[in-house]
């Protein structure tokens, strides 16, 4: 149970530098916390009001007190042990939420103070930084990590200045992993963690090309994205060929190459009739026919797409059907 302690005016509850695990609640009276600003050396005074906790950070973190707590008016203070405070706070979550807000502001503030002190040369452009991470892992033969960071780079910066080098890192990392050459994961082992897929030529990775394609498509670079999607299609039956066809179809549609799009996707439908991507494929077929002023065909494809569409795609297809008068 927390202990209620009475303090007379001008008495000290604790001094800066003291080490103890008590958390205090000012029940009645008035307190001041005095500390020294790290940057200016000036004294800072903070006043504690009734109902407020103090001494929380140093108690929870087991650090010496950063401030002195002085009684300004006769006070009654409840002294919790850390365990008692934790038990109490967990039954009053709003107390923790309020402290989280206060502490997060303090953390933001100190971060900004540090940033303002550091040499601006230390700031690295994220494009360069992410590349340096991939390169560093690759150089230290952490191929899995290198490959994964490289893929993230390509997703975030498909037109970044290090794209070619990162692609090389990604391909080399995958080759190295496939051949079992890995200096290891951080446990220091010398083996890969899971068997690599061997479909498709090693070093010509469909996942990598697909990632690049998606990044380019996301930027509206349809022609370049199409080339990447097409390179995946050319690899034949891989787990991502469906996505590549949908992506390629979208690129052709966006470039108003409707006939080519219909031809491409018709080929896909006949080759992979049970594909999980069929709803998207049928939707793009419908869109192309709509643009080619063939609303009946468009409606037919939209209706078919609707029978296969999942919850995310279905509303879109319904809208398209309505736009056709369906």
């Amino acid at each position: 149970m927390p202990k209620a302690v009475q303090y007379k005016t001008n008495s000290i509850v604790y001094f800066a530098g003291d080490v103890d695990d008590k958390v205090f609640l000012l029940q009645k009276g008035r307190m001041a916390l005095t500390s020294t600003d790290i940057e200016t050396g000036k004294q800072i005074t903070e006043y504690i009001r009734e109902g407020e906790f103090f001494g929380v950070k140093s108690a929870l973190g087991h650090f010496p007190r950063e401030e002195s707590a002085m009684v300004i008016a006769d006070s009654i203070v409840l002294a919790f042990s850390t365990a008692e405070f934790e038990a109490f706070a967990q039954t009053n979550t709003r107390i923790i939420m309020k402290m989280l807000k206060v502490f997060s502001n303090q953390l933001r503030h100190i971060h900004r103070q540090i940033e303002s002190r550091l040499d601006s040369k230390e700031e690295t452009n994220p494009d360069d930084g992410l590349f340096s991470v991939a390169k560093c892992f690759y150089n230290s033969q952490q191929y899995r990590a290198a490959g994964e960071v490289a893929v993230r780079y390509l997703q975030l910066y498909p037109s970044g200045k290090h794209v070619q080098e990162v692609k090389d890192i990604a391909k080399s990392a995958q080759t190295a992993q496939a051949s079992g050459r890995s200096f290891g994961d951080y446990s220091g082992g010398g083996q890969t963690n899971e068997p690599r897929r061997t479909d498709g030529p090693v070093g010509n990775d469909p996942n990598l090309a697909l990632t690049l394609a998606e990044g380019l498509a996301g930027q509206g670079k349809w022609e370049e994205a199409y080339k990447q999607y097409h390179s995946v299609i050319e690899l034949g039956e891989t787990p991502v060929v469906g996505k590549a066809y949908v992506g390629a179809g979208q690129c052709l549609y966006e470039q108003e190459e409707h006939v080519r799009c219909v031809q491409l996707l018709s080929g896909y439908i006949s080759q992979y009739p049970k594909s999980g991507q069929m709803a998207d494929v049928l939707m793009y077929m419908g869109l192309c026919y709509q643009k080619m002023d063939q609303p009946d065909k468009a409606k037919a494809f939209f209706n078919k797409a609707l029978t296969m569409a999942g919850p995310l795609l279905a509303p879109k297809v319904r809208e398209l059907l309505e736009s056709c008068g369906g």
Partner: protein
């Protein structure tokens, strides 16, 4: 904590050993609570990986993502097969209100971070460069576990580049100041370690030169 993991299993994500949870310099808005396995935090310093920490189950990481929109300050890699709960800004408050155990854990994480950052800031405010370099060693000493307190001699496995990063000084400047420490017989520098001959004396030296003015 096990009931928390059960209640929030829908937020669970698995990361195979060696996989990258997030990379330094990536943007991110998720933080993680480790359910099982260990996570290694790595920072790239001058082209080399520096191990920052290895986190254990029930520890939180990535929490700065919910405070500000800055790129990640380190890479988090699954040291073992890792299972972790992934939370973001959107579900943060709901999670905290419904889970005082996690909220308290996050509170303690913030406390640790605040103290570490304040200590780092203290180094940066030392105007005298030699004393600032000395303060880096004092800070490292404060955070080293299992120190043999029967002696004032301390050994640190740290590079000049890392000292420079902590001190916010160019590496060349740090090397110059380290030479002064060596010339004065206060330190010895080897390929793989730096020895501080007397940590108490170093503390007095730094304290005397720590000015109250910026």
């Amino acid at each position: 904590m096990s009931d928390v993991f059960a209640a929030f299993s829908r937020f669970a994500k698995t990361f195979p050993k060696g996989s990258v949870i997030f990379s330094e310099f990536e943007s991110g808005d998720c933080f993680y609570l480790i359910q099982s396995g260990r996570v290694q935090l790595i920072k790239i310093v001058n082209g080399f990986e520096k191990n920052l920490d290895i986190l254990q189950p029930s520890e939180i990481f990535g929490e700065m993502a919910i405070l500000e929109n800055s790129p990640r300050s380190a890479t988090a890699i699954a040291y073992d097969d890792v299972k972790a709960l992934e939370f973001n800004k959107a579900n943060f408050e709901v999670l905290m209100m419904g889970n005082p155990a996690i909220a308290m854990k996050l509170l303690k994480t913030f406390v640790k971070r605040i103290y570490a950052q304040k200590r780092r800031f203290m180094i940066l405010t030392v105007p005298d460069k030699m004393a600032r370099v000395g303060d880096v060693f004092l800070m490292l000493d404060e955070t080293q576990p299992n120190i043999d307190k029967t002696t004032d001699m301390r050994t640190f496995s740290i590079s000049m580049e890392e000292i420079a990063r902590w001190a916010g000084l160019p590496v060349e400047t740090v090397e110059d100041e380290m030479h002064r420490f060596i010339d004065q017989g206060k330190m010895e520098v080897y390929d793989d370690r730096i020895v501080v001959k007397n940590i108490t004396e170093l503390s007095r030296y730094v304290g005397a030169r720590r000015s109250k003015e910026a």
